[in-house]
Amino acid sequence: MPPVIQAEKLTKYYGTYRGIIDVDLEVNEGEAFGFLGPNGAGKTTMIRTLLDHIRPTSGKASIFGIDTTTDPVAIHRRLGYLPGEFALYDKLTGGQTLEYFANLRGGVDKAYQASLVQRLDVDPSRRFREYSKGNKQKVGLIIALQHRPDLLLLDEPTSGLDPLIQQVFYEVIREAKAEGRTVFLSSHILSEVEKTCDRVAIIREGKLARVDRTESLRDLAHHTVELVFAGPVPATEFEQLPGVSDVSSDNHVLRMRVSGNIAAVVRAAAKYDLSDFISREPSLEETFLAEYGKAGEAAQAVEAGAR
């Protein structure tokens, strides 16, 4: 079965500014694909190029086997899109906005639209300009979802949503997947991608740094753990545990970095009289810096040396 999304050496420059460089990517039918990267990495550029909102400087991309620049309308007919930042018609109500987009597409199941309005808790009678940021985001989500598209392109979809609505959103994505539809989700929130996606690509400074199964993120992710002991600090025991590094102690406090599964550290800590156990998941930015920052800097240094 051909991939739903395929990019070959896809490159976009805005004048002299870098967008994305030589991106090779395949997203298969029925999978949820996460597109991770820090701010400015090129996530939105990638999505807008796939949509033909912007044209590639070089390389090519296809969706449903159709070149994105040849027949974008045929592609758009089968996808739903939520931009990372968007505006809609201030003077229209939420309901009128949904109606307009339903008319542009045609064939929207009104009952499904109504169920989304109910599940995402949107008041369709209010004018768009009167909505809070989160409610605007909900309207955008319904526009993307209401026609049950074969492909969902979602750029930071949970931005501004409260935790309850985020859960509803994850449910809807799981349902879409269960129906065999494809989801391409851009985010900088690691946990969001972990919850929803089968595979993930990590983009950094416009280039794909890694494409892998989501499980592999757990290897990439690490925790900063702080244990506060009632008695002396058993630093040596923890240093020998798998995945533990950067161990330091200060009075009764032991700090360490734990990569991968944290269970061994929990079991070891349980043997002692603990006053506190603090585990913090670092931001994706920190994870990137830890995982790719040094390699990136080293590569740049090598390039500079070669010049």
């Binding site: 909102h53 974008p72 758009h76 899109y81 931009p83 018609y89 307009y100 987009f101 008319n103 597409r105």
Partner: protein
């Protein structure tokens, strides 16, 4: 304390505090730089260029007498859009006062209204004021800095004007009495500044209550109504009480370029400006940021919103503006149409002027309502129609600049179809505003008991001109940037209008003067159409829409 900490604690340089990003005032100054340069150049070029051209063209006492005779032969009602005719009309100062004296306050007033209605209100609307107000600056300080960020550029433009008049007044005179004294230049400049700021100050005072659009609308209406009623109070006595309601009427006798001063009302306008500005600052300080009460207007019925597709949406999104423009220009049409009876009577009493018109335009009956509208309505009417077109283009452009197109064009709607559909939608808006305008003209003319069909048909020229400008806007927006489209329309409108107005005086080449579309329309209000010119304008509009759509389909979508 380390050196780096000391460095961090140093504030921005004095220069940056005055211009750039060193303070709220500096940023406001920076934001005003283009408007300041354009306004300063416009006034300097006009006073230095036109004053020189006028005295060069009328350089003998005999030619001056002819000029005065010609102007005085105009029925008073025809001179309404000029300034007051003074005793020394035949001098450089008297002529400038009559011909251009009241025009420049209108230009500067528009600038002031746009700047002062938006400086706080539009920032509040888009949310950036929330961030600014959380930086530790008091609201009063923010308001004052922003206010002075307009007052200082305005002061710079006034200074340029003063110097230009003073230079022209001393360097150009060829006949006795032509000199414009420094004190006259000063008196005119003070009046110019106060009149311009009065409109802006009204918008500034209303902004915290009704938001930018409402404030600019009310201030614009008061300014325009004041300008028109003041200009026509001499010809139409019924307008005098209305004229006296605004600063235009109060200062009617302050004709400083001709050497006649009436300081008390001018100072009263100054006091009003200070009071309104202070009121605006206090209102901003005391009210919730961004909490405005919209001026109540009825909601558009659902079927007019245009939810069916791009044509309907483009038309529906601008429909409110189209109706308002139609009502505004239509009201102007009613006023002018109903005043035409007086004009016809006066024209019959001025056989010399009647003879002049019949010699210049044989076979055309100017002693009709259509003739009056051709001479007085069309020139302003096309400017207003052009501004309406710029408004529609701005609304169209906002689909892309606001980011709405990101979602709209992710539907099965090709860019070409969207752009062409939007163009058709804008033409529908032109038709709406035109229909209302024509209705206004018809009502006005009918009330004077004249033939309605000829001027009503002639008013179609406003729509043709607006469609041409829509085409120009879409062409620029389609191939370059939609954010430039409305500005391109306004620049084209203003430049070609100036070319038409000043071209003959400045001796500009015919090629340049021909660029003014309005010089190719004939005399449509009296039934004398320049058919190729009108068709050419329509073709320009349609071609602009088509080519603009093609350009839009080829380029990247911008955000």
């Amino acid at each position: 304390m380390t050196a780096s900490t000391q460095t961090l604690r140093q504030g921005p340089s004095l220069y940056r505090r005055l211009y750039g990003f060193g303070s709220v005032f500096a940023k406001a100054m920076r934001d005003s730089r283009r408007a300041t340069i354009v306004a300063g150049l416009l006034l300097a070029v006009t006073f230095l260029g036109v004053a020189g051209a006028v005295v060069k063209q009328f350089d003998t006492p005999a030619s001056r007498d002819e000029m005065v005779a010609l102007i005085k032969s105009l029925p008073p009602v025809l001179a309404g859009l000029g300034g007051k005719i003074t005793d020394n009309l035949g001098t450089m100062g008297g002529y400038l006062q009559y011909k251009y004296g009241t025009f420049f306050p209108m230009v500067l007033t528009l600038w002031s209204i746009l700047a002062l209605s938006g400086t706080l209100a539009s920032e509040a609307q888009r949310g950036s004021l929330d961030v600014l107000a959380a930086t530790g600056l008091s609201r009063r300080r923010i308001a004052l800095e922003k206010l002075f960020g307009h007052l200082v550029p305005m002061g710079i433009v006034l200074l340029i004007t003063f110097i230009s008049i003073a230079i022209a007044g001393q360097a150009y005179p060829v006949l006795p009495g032509d000199e414009i004294s420094v004190s006259s230049a000063f008196a005119y400049t003070v009046w110019l500044g106060f009149i311009a700021l009065a409109g802006g100050a009204l918008a500034f005072a209303l902004g915290p209550f009704v938001g930018r659009g409402g404030a600019a609308g009310v201030a614009g209406f008061v300014t325009f109504a004041g300008f028109i009623t003041s200009g026509y109070q001499q010809a139409i006595p019924a307008m005098e009480p209305i004229a006296k309601l605004t600063w235009w009427g109060w200062t009617y006798n302050h004709t400083a370029l001709s050497g006649q001063y009436d300081w008390p009302p001018v100072l009263l306008v100054g006091v009003l400006v200070v009071v309104l500005l202070a009121f605006g600052v206090e209102a901003f300080v005391r009210r919730d940021i961004g909490s405005t009460s919209a001026i109540p207007v009825p909601r558009m019925p659902q079927f007019l919103l245009g939810l069916g597709g791009p044509i309907g949406r483009a038309a529906g999104a601008n429909l409110g503006a189209a109706i308002w423009w139609g009502l505004g220009i239509g009201f102007f049409g009613i006023t002018m149409g109903s005043a035409s009876r007086g004009f016809m009577d006066q024209l019959r009493d001025s056989p010399a002027f009647m003879h002049l018109l019949q010699t210049a335009f044989p076979g055309i009956d100017y002693a009709s309502a259509g003739g009056f509208l051709q001479l007085l309505f069309v020139e302003f009417g096309v400017i207003l129609a052009g501004l309406a077109a710029a408004t529609f283009i701005s609304g169209w452009a906002s689909d892309e600049t606001s980011g709405r197109l990101e979602m709209v064009l992710a539907t099965p709607l090709s860019r070409l179809r969207w752009a062409l559909g939007s163009g058709v939608g804008l033409v529908i808006d032109v038709v709406v505003f035109l229909a209302i305008t024509i209705a206004g003209i018809a009502i006005g003319v009918a009330s004077s008991g004249s033939d309605v069909s000829t001027p009503a048909t002639g008013a179609l020229i406003l729509g043709i001109y607006a469609i041409a400008l829509v085409g120009i806007g879409m062409l620029v927006g389609g191939w370059l940037r939609t954010s430039w489209a409305a500005a391109a329309v306004v620049i084209f409108l203003v430049l070609t209008w100036f070319v038409q107005l000043l071209g003959p005086l400045l001796g500009l080449p015919d090629v340049l003067q021909d660029l003014a579309l309005t010089s190719h329309f004939g005399q449509p209000m009296v039934g004398a159409w320049d058919v190729p010119g009108a068709i050419g304008a329509l073709v320009l509009g349609v071609a602009g829409i088509g080519l603009g759509a093609l350009g839009f389909a080829r380029r990247d979508l911008r955000r």
